[in-house]
Symmetry: C2
């Protein structure tokens, strides 16, 4: 009864006096990527967050202790607007090595999160007279709101089996995209498209914002290098510690083309979002001592096992699903051919399972139907049960 | 020679080939409050930052360790947009007790710094159709830039011996002010003016942003309570850990009137400035265990001794200065009657002393001349030398 009331309170079910309870006909889940989308659900199969029980408390504590014992007093003062120099140096080395980013520490800028960085970029582009930013459709909804709040309008660009349809970009000057692992479709942007995208930027004095949101998680092959390496003058590389460590750490970064550095710092001067220098120093130490690499190695194993279990389960229980994009990241995209996405998501909601579909991420009418199954958010002990619940839902018709 | 070159590079001195070096006739110091204003100077008598060598490294480390060992996993996830509940609860208790703020944890919102909070407020007011924000003149220059970047224009309001001239506010709907210790003049807003200010807000459907930037530092009497207590529906209370702990911690807060809570959260939803939840939890613990109170007690003694030394020095070496505003805060305002502020600041710059005057804080032509002497930024071991250097400068004519 409590669960029912909760579902009614959140709008998933409609309780009409005298006529029982029905599944709400309105959109049955909040827009993808909202912080509290899974609130009130028993099982969490949403994408976008790592397992919080895997946060390296012990190792992070060691890094913080070292920072507090050994840092010069300057750490506690107002610092460089770009962020702590030690972290920018450590990130430059890490990104060059692990993501083939062409980077100099002077062009790395630290933020409290990628969305916060995007907000600063949107405001900066707006000040530079750019009034439209292209985004992938489907894509992550809250980022659109962040862009429009900064001034520019959104131009949706379709995604197909090769990734972003670069030919459709003509009208825009800036594009936000996820080349390594399209969110949510899971496609890797093809080599031809990458070249076309860079050509587009060069021909139109355009900018590419590369959201490398889960670039660290590759399972079956070497990571696809960042696009930024193809043209560091045209690509803004964005990364975050929200997936590799935790959102609660509150750290993300941009690698900026030289021409954009001063305009972005101007915006920061006007916004003054500050980021804890203590956490910044801890991440610098975490990278420099190899602890981040060790953590990521164990995380990759952990999530690869989860992915394998999920794929196995989908093969066994729902062979009618076409699983895509599972060589990387923290979610699987399961395309539907002859079943209804919305019906499955409503059945999941009725069983207190938070689950998104492609429609939750779409701007225009979706061209595909499918489920976007996040396998990282459950705690390790809860994951087998989550899979079993999912199987139950998929077995229903 | 190196010092000279540095001063030339920073524009304080002008080196013309063949004609020697002269003090630059342009403004000889950057606008007050810029993070790196004291860069390149040997002696730092700027206001605005606590002594970084007094940061409680040990105690903060204990709080962080406890947080990492005992917090539930939820700490590492995306959290409440207002900030960590534990911190909002701890702050509500602390602000009610120490600053007479009328506060409920649900209306406390955490930011990375006060300027960042002000940026969100400015954007919010702009969205609400408010296009002008009144500020104190003189006041802190970077905050003006933060406001105008958010949309509203600035309306300067004079400050006299009773504080902000409330009668001049008519044209504005919002005012940013420092009632407890006017920055930089040091005046406490008089009781009559406080009442008038609240009346102004009620009569004009206006809002008062109370920047309680150094409310914790009172030496000779009980702290003046926050204005917010007079009308929690009209006053937005703003506080920060940047003075009580350190800017590097990156934590500040607003207590919002009920009517403003949702509009501010809407802006945050679009900006997504995240603040480390680990540092938030550490501050919550620091407050709850009484460590913040202990730290502040020892800091007050530390700065009171510095203040006493400074006041003694000014009496001995510059009896022509009229010292004001020293019962609180981390700076003294030394009014000039028959000497030139700019000349003294240039003499200081030529001796590599970073020192601001009232002109550095003014919008219109200043009605008073005077020095704004910060006594908190030097490390303890460097402070006696800083005073001696100041005495040398004041003894020159």
């Amino acid at each position: 009864m409590t669960a029912y009331e909760q579902l009614v309170a959140e709008g998933y079910l409609v309780a009409a006096a005298g006529s029982g309870t029905t599944v709400a006909s309105v959109r049955t889940s909040p827009p993808a990527g909202e912080a509290d989308s899974s609130k009130g659900f028993f099982t969490d199969l949403l994408p976008g967050e790592p397992d919080p029980s895997s946060f390296p408390r012990q190792a992070w504590g060691v890094a913080l202790r070292k920072v507090l014992h050994t840092s010069p007093d300057g750490l506690f003062r107002y610092g460089d607007r770009r962020g702590l120099a030690e972290l920018r140096v450590a990130l430059a080395g890490y990104l060059a090595r692990s993501r083939s980013v062409v980077v100099d520490p002077s062009r790395v800028v630290i933020f409290g999160g990628f969305a916060s960085a995007l907000s600063v970029l949107a405001t900066t582009f707006h000040r530079l007279g750019i009034d439209r930013v292209a985004v992938e459709d489907p894509g992550l909804p809250p980022l659109r709101k962040v862009i429009t709040a900064g001034g520019p309008a959104i131009v949706p660009i379709r995604v197909d089996e090769h990734g972003l349809r670069v030919d459709d970009l003509a009208a825009a000057r800036v594009v936000l995209c996820t080349p390594a692992h399209q969110y949510p479709m899971g496609v890797v942007l093809s080599a031809t498209r990458r070249v076309a995208l860079i050509d587009w930027a060069r021909d139109n004095d355009g900018w590419i914002i590369e959201d490398d949101y889960d670039g660290e998680f590759r399972y079956d092959r070497r990571p696809v290098g960042a696009m930024q390496g193809l043209d560091p003058e045209r690509v803004i590389y964005g990364g975050t510690a929200s997936k590799s460590l935790a959102p609660g750490v509150g750290l993300a970064w941009l690698v900026l083309p030289p021409r954009l550095l001063e305009p972005v710092l101007d915006t920061l001067r006007q916004r003054r979002d500050t980021v804890s220098s203590i956490e910044q120093a801890a991440l610098a130490d975490f990278i420099a001592t190899g602890r981040l690499d060790r953590h990521l190695r164990s995380q990759r194993q952990h999530y690869r096992r989860r992915r394998d279990s999920l794929v196995q389960l989908l093969e066994n229980h729902a062979p009618w699903l076409e699983v895509a994009g599972v060589s990387a990241g923290l979610h699987a995209t399961a395309l539907l051919h002859d079943r209804d996405e919305q019906a499955i998501i409503e059945r999941a909601a009725a069983r207190s399972v938070a689950l998104f579909g492609i429609a939750n991420h779409s701007i225009g009418a979706p061209t595909r139907q499918g489920l976007v199954i996040g396998y990282s958010r459950s705690a390790a002990h809860a994951f087998p049960q989550a899979l079993e619940t999912l199987a139950g839902i998929l077995n229903l018709r």
